[in-house]
Amino acid sequence: MKRFYFDYAATTPTRPEVIKVMKSFWKKYFGNPSSLYYEGRLAKTALTNARKKIAKIINVSPEEIIFTNGGSESVNLAILGSVNFYKNQFRRPEIIVSQIEHPAVLETAKYLEKNGVGVISLNVNKNGIIKLNELKKKINQNTLLISIMYANNEIGTIQPIQKIARIIKYFRQKNKTIFPLFHTDACQAAGYLDIKPKKLGVDLMSLNGSKIYGPKATGLLYKRKDLELTPIIFGGGQEMDYRSGTENVPGIIGFTKALELSQNERNKEVPRLKKLQKYLIANLLKRIPKIIINGDLKNRLPNNINISILDIEGEALLLKLDELGIAISTGSACHSQSLKPSHVLEAIGLPHEFIHGSLRITLGKYTTKKEVDYLIQSLEQVVQSLRELSPLSLKEK
């Protein structure tokens, strides 16, 4: 059966150009970059050049890039690494995060909280954007780190990173301190937005390969030159001691290519997806009664549509669509291992009965208008069949 993939925010297929550049690094150039002989030097050269290439793309120095095994690892290293390194300079160190961060951030924060670090969680407004005034009030002399995602993985909302950076900079100047440090999880943003750390004003930034048509389990952490981190993985001292373990050379080569291509193609891809997004939203609203769009429509990734379909439940919807060849995601509690509804949709104030019927549609490089039409038509059909089974008739606020 032909499959229709609408979950590009979960992961993306690896693009052929990426597979092509990785190819020779599996068998032909398999050396360990730490070895002194020819095979090692070759691998090391490839690694060095990849680092330089990425440095150029995001306009930083090569030594500011730490390759990791993915987005979650980058985030863990950024948060744990900086807190562990700097915490002794504080009486009671605190970190500030937003309510709608990825679990990689929230669970790391939870772990730190158990170990005596204060965690302040910033509310978001009903559009899914943090309130800058609240941030201003919460920053204090104990704030070691602020971690705010660039774009949200569930509702695609884009946070005002530059404005946040300005608030932080002002606080630092006023108090003559280098704190708080500022980390952003830019994994979802990398394919669509400007991710130059200096332009954004961030000190730490996490990126990964699996959301930008690169290989899975690849990623990096950008770390401003003059900052230090305590490693979270110890061993042979690779990656300037910040991340031990033999480098995933083919993965890094592929990730580099993926980042290069996605940043190069961004200006063409963003308007194309925006058009599809607009078309999809307009048609869903027109053809399916009782649906709500979740999250800000303007400050939003061009590939994300998050809706709540009233009177039906998301897992059932997902599995019915799966039967029709469609891969899609939901924020319903029934879908999660913990039976907890999406924390992001909760944070924007959506009542539980609306979260249960939420659907995340994420478009990508290979999404065509034809596919979108198939989705609309299938959704219309499946919603009708599930509504026929449902005893509910909820009101749209």
Binding site: E313, G314, A316, L319, C334, L339, E388, L389, P391
Partner: protein, 220 residues
């Protein structure tokens, strides 16, 4: 050429046997549900009992319409509607078959159906999904009570045979006791099993007392 095809097949061994999310029976009932109340059928379907349980906020609502033969007090026909995940839909569908096959189940027998009976009929459910079918039997019992109310047999009405703790979901003290015996020794675990408090959060302090009581009673 054939050798190559064989080699590829061998390499794909890692992909053999991709499972569905639930059992075959759940899939079947989810995709082709039986006995549900179709659009427009409400006015035509003759019934003498209605029961409903759950709340939209906690993610499951089930409704049963029954036609009970007043002479034999057997469930001759039934219709249902369910808001919930695939296993909730499938468990209501399978329950509707259980109670109407072989000339219809007697009310006495029907009200004794347990969540475990439904799960068994479905060919098993992941532990985390047990609560979905926990509700089906309660909606049914709610409908049976409704029948006795309508036929003025008030002495036969049983609120699940035990004190009701969660008024919205109609979770009884017996449900909680059973969950504790089965190893749910914390509030969180009892909630996972029974959903108590999801409908009426005000009952949580009482639930905690009950957990303490039964834990001591059974030395858990």
């Amino acid at each position: 050429m054939r050798k190559k095809a064989k080699k590829i097949k061998k390499e794909m061994d890692i992909l053999s046997g991709i499972p569905w999310v639930y059992s075959k029976k759940v899939r079947q009932h989810f995709l082709q549900p039986k006995n549900f109340m179709k659009f427009g059928e409400e006015k035509k379907f003759k019934y003498n009992a209605v029961g409903m349980i759950g709340s939209p906020a906690c993610g499951d609502v089930m409704k049963f319409w029954l036609w009970i033969d007043p002479k034999t007090e057997r469930i001759k026909k039934c219709r249902w509607r369910t808001f919930g995940c695939a296993s909730a839909i499938a468990s209501t569908s399978v329950l509707s078959e259980m109670i109407t096959k072989n000339g219809g189940m007697t009310l006495d027998k029907a009200r004794k159906i347990t969540p475990e009976d439904i799960i068994k009929e479905l060919g098993g459910l992941p532990a985390i999904k047990y609560h979905c079918s926990v509700l089906g039997d309660k909606a049914l019992r709610d409908a049976i009570n409704d029948y006795y109310r309508r036929t003025k047999q008030y002495n036969k009405i049983e609120p699940g045979g035990s004190r009701i703790i969660d008024k919205v979901l109609k979770i009884t003290e017996r449900d909680i006791e059973k969950a504790i015996i089965e190893g749910a020794t914390t509030l969180e675990k009892v909630q996972k099993k029974t959903k108590v408090g999801f409908g009426d959060p005000k009952c949580l302090p009482l639930t905690e007392e009950l957990i303490k009581f039964y834990k001591e009673k059974y030395n858990l």
